[in-house]
Amino acid sequence: MPDLTRPLQECLAAMDDKHNLQEVLRRYPADRDELIALLRLSVDLGALEAPAADPAFRLRARNRMLAAATHRRQARRWNPLAVLPRPVVRVAYAGALAAALLVGGLTAAAGSSNSLPGDPLYGVKLGVERAQLATTFDSAARAQLELQIADARLAEAQRLFAAGRVNDGVRGMAQYDTAVTQFHQSIASTALDVRAVDDLSRSMDDRAARADASLKALAGTLAAGGDPEAAAAVTRTRSHVDQAWSGSKQDLQSRGSVSHPGDQRTKPPGGAP
């Protein structure tokens, strides 16, 4: 389907403002049918409107939330770290974790790299990842790290399925989905220079293609092995991450073209003006 972002935007604006929609559609004769299909869909979505919540429930839930906050605030008084500013806590946490890892033995950290959910060392593996994220302050490096973490989640899910731990594998797929979404949201809200955008685009394209192929194969294997529910879960993850990758790609492309005019993108660093 071609990129109809702009024509769709004009059509929706015409509908919102009660202007003549046909006039807008006449400007896009080649895309008219597709635009009408998308506009019908937007109207159908409007019919899914949800009723307002019960005001009594709204008040009850608000009071419960505030009671939970009070309880938590009282518990916090016993935590000396809570009074420190958040960046200090983050650095302190990262430092303490790093020291603990050093003192406790780098062996455990290294040994945890192949661990799977449910293994005793899996918590160490996640802790190492959190420490790496907490101590990576460069946006581009952080995004690359998030990609690697997504890779790790996918590899774990595949190994869990291969080991016959189907339920854990399905949970692993959800973790992979979350990791890709986290990457997508992270780059959407982070400033990146042109070089970082290009590097990330390349890394992402490679991963997206490899992940898509392996998820497709995995879903096929599970379906053939008589596990349609697990196959459906993998297919759903495949669909989600495919869209997340596409969104990230478009986001990076628009970032590049918005903040850096096209001619600058192809220039080598330090090139002639």
Binding site: M1, D3, L4, T5, R6, L8, Q9, L12, A37, L38, L41, S42, D44, L45, G46, A47, L48, E49, A50, P51, A52, A53, D54, F57, R58, A61, R62, R64, M65, L66, A68, A69, T70, R72, R73, R76, R86, V170, R171, A174, T178, T181, H184, Q185, S186, A188, S189, E229, A232, R236, S239, H240, Q243, A244, S246, G247, Q250, D251, S254, V258
Partner: protein
């Protein structure tokens, strides 16, 4: 506006009751509608909405104001709770949407059945979108928010919301075509 939002969130991270109540009031309707649209059941939507805000209190100290928009963070919690619930129940999101019923008294049974089926297919297709796309679609076409308001809530550029809106509708259209009944394709 962004500064005041950030200040509000900082106060909420210190578990200030006024700030938490303000965040609750700002986001309650959106979160409730997001959840109701998916489960189509008042008690379930209420239960999940309450859990979202309790979870917000539990983990707001982990939210980074320079990261994703606060509303996106909250919707992510809602989405995860929804997925957890389906998983615990051992069924797929689509099965819950089977419960969708059209309660219009004037609808004849055949039209009612067809409408219910179309709505079920539409909800199933919405469930296949990414969480972020679901959020945009819900805000734009169900809550009828303007694009610039959505951009502000999600802390994204207006152009990015337009683009995401198009991608979401195009994906929905594709998903619906994939599941279109054979007789409709022949017609």
């Amino acid at each position: 506006m962004k500064t005041s939002d950030d200040a509000l969130i900082r106060r909420a991270q210190a578990l200030d009751a006024g700030a938490l109540a303000e965040l609750y009031d700002r986001h309650f309707d959106g979160i409730y509608r997001y959840l109701f649209t998916r489960v189509r059941h008042h008690a379930d939507a209420e239960d999940l909405t309450e859990q979202v805000f309790l979870k917000m209190v539990d983990s707001i100290h982990r939210y980074r104001p320079r990261g994703v928009a606060f509303s996106s963070w909250l919707y992510r919690i809602a989405h995860n709770l929804l997925v957890d619930r389906y998983r615990r129940a051992g069924r797929e999101p689509m099965e819950l949407t089977d419960q969708v019923r059209d309660v219009r008294p004037h609808a004849d049974p055949a039209a009612l059945a067809q409408h219910s089926e179309e709505r079920r297919r539409l909800l199933a297709a919405v469930n296949r979108l990414t969480q972020e796309q679901q959020q945009v679609i819900t805000m734009r076409f169900i809550d009828n928010l303007a694009v610039d308001e959505i951009a502000r809530l999600m802390r994204r550029r207006v152009g990015a919301i337009h683009s995401m809106q198009h991608r979401a509708l195009a994906s929905l259209y594709r998903f619906l075509l994939e599941t279109e009944p054979a007789e409709a394709r022949r017609a």
